[in-house]
Amino acid sequence: MSGRGANSRRRPMLKVIILGDSGVGKTSLMNQYVNRKFTNQYKATIGADFLTKDVEIDGKNVTTQIWDTAGQERFQSLGVAFYRGADCCVLVFDVNNSKSFDQLDSWRDEFLLQASPRDPDNFPFVVLGNKVDLEESRRQVSQKRALAWCQQKGKIPYFETSAKEAINVDMAFQTMAKNALDQEADVEL
């Protein structure tokens, strides 16, 4: 690091946590966002994966440090370890699986409990309804229903995404980073 000039201010780093049931496509979304890659193969995440990506928001450079967690219960022994000090939390469900949508409540509660952010009501969440590329007939959660939930939980931004077709992925992460950054700026030390 010593190579860096002393006066070049470092880009802020945002810690982003991705939560949601197993198989909803958390890892796929992260891979699409960071590496622009998608695979149909499913490999359950064990423990966690970490990736970083530099983004520019309103002319400001930031680094996002993305913590992709495991949806499968048996791999979830990490809890607090992960949630501590998060700047933003991304809740993911599969629009073709209503159970994964029902679980959002408990994911959100669990996060707020474990991470205990200073201002829980205004903590920046983002909700993603994933796999919208599949045929309409398989859809179980309507956009209206998802939006209603988000509204009720304090105007959480909602995006319908597809990791496979790269629909709305950049947009979602961009918004998330922006909200986190705004939040950051709000707090006085």
Partner: protein, 729 residues
């Protein structure tokens, strides 16, 4: 007639010549061919192999000697055969033959080492038998899952003797063969499993395994912070080619091509956000930080009794963790240094962060915002941290918790101290020669006369600074010196001295009083680079920013030619002018009594040579000595072989080993004189602890134990006699 014979004779002689020439040619040619194509290569090969084995032996032995200081005791009474079979299980990358050779070597030393444990009072280290999985299991089977991994493995060497096993959790060595896919923790090594629902599955283990492999992968492959590592030449130590005697060793040693000299430091927040990394750009290490954070947190969460992870070993790398409130510090080293030593180093790094922020501020920030990106506040502190890291190899301050002092005669010491404690009033200049001394500012806590690496004199009023605080000050000066920071003008800045008071800032005044150092390349730019000066600076970060303005990468300061600085520590933010006046008085006094000139001369002879003095026994190759009451140390100038960094490092490791054998400095003060002798392959070292000194001395490896002891005792007499020269009050 002659014509009848002649042709025959001629033919005969022709044949003879042809035969002789022919056979000579064939003989010589085949001789040459044999020599060049068979003999030389095979010699070459054996030489290469010899060299390799020597190198490996040396490394393994050094690492062993340093870390397993106590393991000499294990080896005693264990025959070679059983060592190799017990250890062979885990150290499968070292062939049994080599192990046996090392074991024999170690046993030799062990005989010597332990027979000199004439002190019954030293607590004998527990005798962990290699491969005794019962005792290991009971130690490691606490209810934290990380240690469970090891319990499953048989034949591990307990890491670092007693201390680490008693510690809350200690992870014994992983197998040396560390392809990430080959970590055997007793579970199936498949990292990403495709929805298998087998009952024998242990998620915890798999999680840790995947985390560890994520750490280890970059260590193995080309990774940014590996490429930046200290030396690449060391990679040659384990060439991939099959070595001649290696035929019956495990096939996996290809993966053990880790470079030897490697050391990394990481600092992260409890949220896993990066704060500092010695190598690699921040993005490249971010992932690693996340993994470290997770490992720490897993152990933290799993244990109800506040256990934290201390260290684990992966092959030649020791990972050491230090949790300091909301900051996590991690050292990764393949240098053979002990866990204890690395922890000490992490504490010194932590002090640097505290020195620019205060502990209180750090705690408050992270209480309010656990997601805070501390780098915002520490911009430019890198140079302080890097400087600290490089000092670990040059200084014994960290090991001995004492600053080093220069060798000067007691009369000069008296003059210096007098000038600091009661400087003469100089306002009336030459007219008033009566020694009316000026009053010392009441807010002055302490004054130091110091170079960037060595203390010269100190005046406590009433505070005596701890070595940690002295280091903070010296490191600040050293870091700034690369940019010629404090050479001109006066500097006044708030600094937090972590040992004195980690809750708040004191104000530090720095002024160069004697310029011995060469103008290191900065030329005429010197004056303008410096900005810390004359004003009163408000907050910590701004002050350090002034210092930081100096260049980051400059050549190492030559220890022999260092500037002398006057450092005054004050309670009063507004005290600058008082202190400046005080300094002026000190300076005038020093000039008036000729002390500065004398000091300049004296510094030229520092560090002193062994040959400068009659009283130092000629067998002594190097020594180091600490005065326990004054808490300062003195070291002779390094002569060959210790002028080479590698040899010096090895010596340092040996001293560390000896030091850790004796125990805590506080305990030893009360104990009677004690002596430990340790014979290594390259030198024999002696540690002599008396009621007032710790003395470390190095000798030729073949010196007899008796001779080494005797000459160390002579050395002790010399040190006692020269105490006034070596240390200040």
């Amino acid at each position: 007639m002659p014509s009848a014979i002649a042709p025959i004779t001629n033919r005969f002689s022709q044949r003879v010549i042809r035969d002789v020439v022919g056979s000579l040619t064939v003989g010589i040619a085949s001789g040459y061919a044999y020599w060049h194509m068979v003999h030389l290569p095979s010699i070459e090969q054996w030489r290469a192999y010899d060299k390799k084995v020597m190198a490996e032996t040396k490394i393994i032995h050094d690492a062993w000697a340093a870390e397993q200081g106590n393991s000499f005791d294990h080896l005693l009474g264990t025959d070679n055969e059983s060592i190799s079979s017990n250890v062979g299980g885990s150290l499968n990358s070292i062939s049994a033959i080599k192990l046996r050779a090392i074991a024999a070597d170690l046993e030799d030393n062990a005989g010597e080492a332990s027979s000199t444990h004439e002190n019954a009072s030293t607590p004998t280290p527990e005798h962990h038998q290699f491969g005794n999985s019962d005792s290991l299991d009971s130690h490691l089977l606490q209810d934290n899952s990380l240690s469970r991994m090891d319990a499953k493995q048989t034949g591990n060497i307990p890491s670092g003797g007693t201390s680490s096993l008693i510690g809350p959790i200690s992870l014994s060595p992983l197998p040396l063969s560390l392809d990430a896919s080959n970590l055997s923790f007793g579970v199936n090594p498949t990292l990403h499993e495709t929805n298998s629902e087998s009952d024998t599955f242990e998620p915890d283990l798999v999680i840790q395994q995947s985390l560890l492999s994520a750490i280890l992968e970059p260590l193995e492959g080309a990774h940014p912070w590996k490429q930046n590592s200290l030396s690449s030449s060391d990679q040659e130590l384990f060439p991939n080619q099959e070595s001649p005697l290696n035929s019956f060793s495990a096939p996996s040693e290809k993966s053990s091509t880790w470079p030897q000299r490697r050391k990394h430091f990481f600092i992260l927040s409890s949220a896993g956000k990066p704060i500092y990394s010695r190598y690699g750009s921040e993005n490249e290490v971010t992932e690693l930080m996340g993994i470290f954070q997770t490992i720490i947190a897993i152990v933290d969460d799993d244990s109800d009794d506040g256990d934290v992870i201390n260290s684990f070993r992966a092959g030649t790398h020791l990972f050491v963790f230090k949790i300091m409130g909301p900051l996590y510090l991690v050292a990764v080293a393949a240098t053979g240094e002990t866990e204890e030593e690395l922890k000490r180093q992490l504490e010194y790094l932590h002090d640097q962060i505290i020195s620019v922020t205060t502990q209180t501020q750090i705690n408050r920030i992270f209480e309010k915002r656990s997601n805070y990106d501390l780098r915002q506040l520490l911009t430019g502190t890198d140079v302080l941290l890097s400087k600290t890291i490089s000092s670990f190899r040059l200084s014994h301050l960290h090991l001995l918790s004492s600053p080093s002092n220069v060798f000067i005669n007691p009369k000069l010491r008296g003059k210096l101290h007098k000038a600091l404690s009661s400087p003469a009033q100089h306002s009336t200049a030459a007219l008033n020669t009566s020694s009316s001394s000026m009053s010392i500012p009441s807010h002055l806590l302490t004054t130091l006369l110091t170079t960037p690496s060595r203390l010269i004199s100190s005046f406590r009023n009433p505070v005596l600074l701890h070595a940690r605080d002295i280091f903070v000050i010296q490191n600040l000066i050293a870091a700034a010196a690369n940019g010629a920071g404090f050479r001109a003008g006066e500097a006044w800045m708030p600094v937090c001295l972590p040992a004195f008071d980690s809750r708040g800032f004191v104000n530090i005044y720095v002024c160069c009083v004697l310029k011995c150092g060469a103008d290191s390349g900065s030329g005429s730019g010197v004056e303008s680079v410096f900005l810390g000066g004359n004003g009163v600076l408000g907050d910590g970060s701004a002050a350090v920013a002034g210092v930081r303005a100096g260049g980051v990468a400059a050549s190492r300061v030559q220890h022999d030619e260092e500037d002398v600085f006057l450092v005054a520590v004050s309670r009063d933010r507004e005290g600058f002018f008082d202190i400046s006046e005080y300094k002026e008085a000190v300076f005038q006094t020093l000039q008036a009594n000729g002390a500065l000139d004398e000091l300049e001369d004296a510094l030229l002879d520092n560090p002193y040579r062994l040959t400068d003095f009659e009283g130092i026994p000629s067998q002594v190759r190097h020594f180091l000595c600490r005065n326990k009451k004054k808490m300062q140390y003195s070291e002779c100038r390094s002569a060959p072989p210790y002028t080479s960094a590698g040899d010096y490092d090895r010596l340092q490791l040996l001293y560390q080993t000896l030091f850790s054998k004796i125990g805590k400095p506080t305990e030893s003060a009360a104990r009677p004189a004690k002596l430990v002798y340790l014979k290594g392959t390259h030198e024999a070292v002696v540690y002599l602890a008396t009621s007032s000194y710790d003395i470390f001395a190095a000798y030729h490896p073949l010196i007899s134990k008796q001779d080494a002891e005797d000459s160390t005792r002579l050395l002790y007499k010399w040190i006692k006699r020269m105490d006034g020269h070596l240390f200040c009050d």
